[in-house]
Symmetry: C2
Subunit: 130 residues, 2 copies
DNA sequence: CAGGATCCTTTCAGATACTG
DNA sequence: CAGTATCTGAAAGGATCCTG
């Protein structure tokens, strides 16, 4: 209910509500396959089996579920061509494209800092089990 | 024994590789509690029970695990004061602070588009089960 | 105070078989 | 081709008890 323009509150404030919207997005963007799909769809529309072949390792089930989730959030569209055999195109919506930008910012951050992170990890893992 | 490093099969697309490193980050940032912790730690160091009280709903177990993960990634530091009773301060590292910026971009995106998303969702949920 | 160890329930995700 | 339905093992996560 609070019309907060700041999504991440301070300690002590009931921030469950304002963070909830963000968590939804991050759950979506950060889940196992959504990012791959968004990236794969960035250049243009793709068909179901194109995606399945393009994203190796994804199961049919997870591809379907992830596509449904993205579609439900309005990030992609699903277009059915009632031909025989049927053809379905998936494509990023405008909303999906706007998500691309902040997502890529995070991608760049990850790329720029992955060495530092890997270093921190291996250093942490070498710590004696105190 | 098992392949400890993620070896995503070659797809022929360069973005696959960058997504793999990114997925690690997004897994971290997008998991259930990390964002709350990073946000809560943004203003300054906090103690264990401060965090526990400040982030309503988090269990002790998940707080500990999430803190360990963030520490392992070099995003926060853990400082033990060997007093009695003991005191532990958690604080964002420089790396952690740099993550704040791209994260906030995503947070803002989420905030700006949550209405559109909610709308898309309710519209999707009203679709006849065809 | 700041956790570690354990149990136990829920959820996730892969494999498989079937359909318009 | 583009899915749906079901089963099952794996993993996440909460609750609880115990410790330096």
């Amino acid at each position: 209910m609070s019309p907060s323009h700041i999504a991440l509150p301070e300690v002590g404030k009931p921030h469950t509500e304002c963070c909830q919207a963000t968590r939804q997005i991050l759950d979506r963007v950060g889940d196992k396959w959504s990012l791959y799909l968004i990236a794969t769809l960035a250049p243009g529309p793709r068909r179901f089996n194109e995606l399945k072949r393009g994203i190796e390792g994804i199961s049919q089930r997870m591809l379907t579920l992830t596509l449904r989730g993205l579609e439900r959030d309005g990030l992609i569209t699903r277009t059915l061509f009632p031909t025989i055999p049927p053809r379905v195109d998936y494509e990023l919506t405008k909303l999906g494209h706007t998500l691309l930008k902040p997502t890529m910012a995070l991608v760049e951050w990850a790329h720029e800092n992955k060495l530092a992170i890997a270093e921190a990890q291996s250093h942490f893992d070498q710590q004696p089990t105190s």
